[in-house]
């Protein structure tokens, strides 16, 4: 399965397409990208996660980190999360801190 992350920078937002499994072995790679993104203060961080099949708390920690660094004015948007990821977001209450959409931009 593995893991990959691809970054695209647009005027108003930065997008990361993440595929595979985000666990404690691959979270550092994702974390590096997130750290770079938040220094650029985008209005939104958009995560395309349709192909993300697994996310553990190591990945959730990165989402919390991103949201804290981005601040309340910026949004953290998840595009097409799989049901399992939604369930994990619900269990941890993080679902209230992210926006879930079917496509971005609309």
């Amino acid at each position: 399965m593995g893991f990959s992350v691809k970054k695209e920078i647009f005027d108003k937002y930065t997008a990361l397409t993440i595929c595979g499994s985000l666990d404690s072995s691959t979270a550092p790679q994702f974390g590096e990208e997130v750290k770079q993104v938040v220094t650029q203060n985008p209005q939104a961080l958009v995560l395309y996660v349709e192909e993300l099949s697994f996310m553990s708390s190591a990945g959730l920690r990165m989402l919390i980190f991103a949201k804290q660094k981005l601040g309340t004015a910026a949004s953290l948007i998840l595009v097409r999360p799989q049901e399992q990821l939604l369930e994990t977001l619900r269990m941890t209450g993080l679902i209230f801190s992210v926006s879930i959409v079917d496509q971005y931009p609309e």
Binding site: M1, S21, D23, S24, S25, F54, S56, S57, A58, L60, R61, I64, F65, K67, Q68, G71, T72, E83, Q84, E87, T88, M91, T92, G93, L94, F96, S97
Partner: protein
């Protein structure tokens, strides 16, 4: 292949997380366990195994530790046991985030502490024992 129980020993290194998840998934799938339950069990096992690798063995100063993963199916229950020789660590004694914590806006949350919470929430029974110098984390899900 359908089997009543299986075990496998994995190196306690991050590269083992995916093989451990695959080991659990293939056994559970062969036993016709519902996909959602499989996913939650995998998440729980991943969280516990990650803790053993990232904290348990490093804190014990052991750099070639192993994790034995056993899985069995009996009386409508799937039971997974993780055994390691790292420092004694009882996840049940660890304080869990409260419902109020989980409702907090993300800006006010601590970054850590979710792994064990997720592990314990994702299975029907979570048990722990320390015996003969070994941590035994026991995870059970009902599969009826």
């Amino acid at each position: 292949m359908k089997a009543e129980s299986q075990f496998q020993v994995f190196e306690a290194a991050p590269g083992s997380l995916e093989p451990i998840r695959d080991f659990i998934a293939s056994f559970a799938t062969a036993n016709d366990v519902d996909k959602k339950k499989i996913f939650k069990l995998i998440l729980a096992v991943d969280e516990i195994a990650s803790n053993i690798m990232n904290y348990g063995y490093p804190m014990a100063g052991i750099d070639d530790g192993t994790i034995q993963v056993s899985i069995g199916c009996q009386d409508g229950k799937l039971r997974v046991v993780l055994e390691d020789n790292a420092i004694p660590f009882n996840p049940i004694e660890k304080s869990m985030p409260t419902p109020e914590d989980l409702m907090k806006p993300v800006e006010d949350r601590p970054i850590g502490g979710l792994g064990i919470f997720l592990a314990r929430q994702s299975v029907d029974l979570f048990d722990y024992e320390y015996r003969d110098g070994k941590n035994r984390n026991i995870l059970v899900v009902a599969i009826d």
